[in-house]
Symmetry: C2
Subunit: 85 residues, 2 copies
């Protein structure tokens, strides 16, 4: 088995309202920053052992499907790297 770090980035689907991002953007506007848009995403870095990178990615995708992402409103991406020693 090899130690991997799978990074799952969960974001709201296009068109789904994001009150947290809207509030953050307005606060930055009030501080005098000029920005065109802001999107907030959640990112989970998961340390796990797996036979290979594909198995690690599959397991992380299962975790996203079952807990980390709500399929109705979220999309997610998985990136896998060998864990740093």
């Amino acid at each position: 088995m090899t130690a991997y770090t799978a990074t799952v980035t969960v974001r709201l689907k296009r068109g789904v309202l994001d009150p947290e991002a809207e509030t953050t953007k307005r606060a930055l506007d009030r501080l005098g920053f000029e920005l065109q848009g802001l999107r907030a995403t959640d990112r989970y870095e998961i340390d796990l052992d797996a036979a290979d990178a594909d198995a690690a990615e599959e397991r992380a995708s299962e975790m996203a499907d079952r807990l980390l992402a709500n399929p109705t409103i979220h999309d997610y991406e998985v990136e896998v790297e060998e864990a740093e020693e």
Copy 2:
């Protein structure tokens, strides 16, 4: 001016307790997943116009210093890309 997307990743400093990550990890354990560790990070994708990439990075760092990250408990990284047309 050029349109950039600056991505600010905010994470808790090493050693700072992360109740959200702990709770998420325990939930995954209960679902039968085997994982060694889990870290939760917040990630902001900011669309802004700037003279160049360095200026975009500097502005995004200022936003992190003033609002997105709490310097006492957070570290942050900034990545800048030209915005997709």
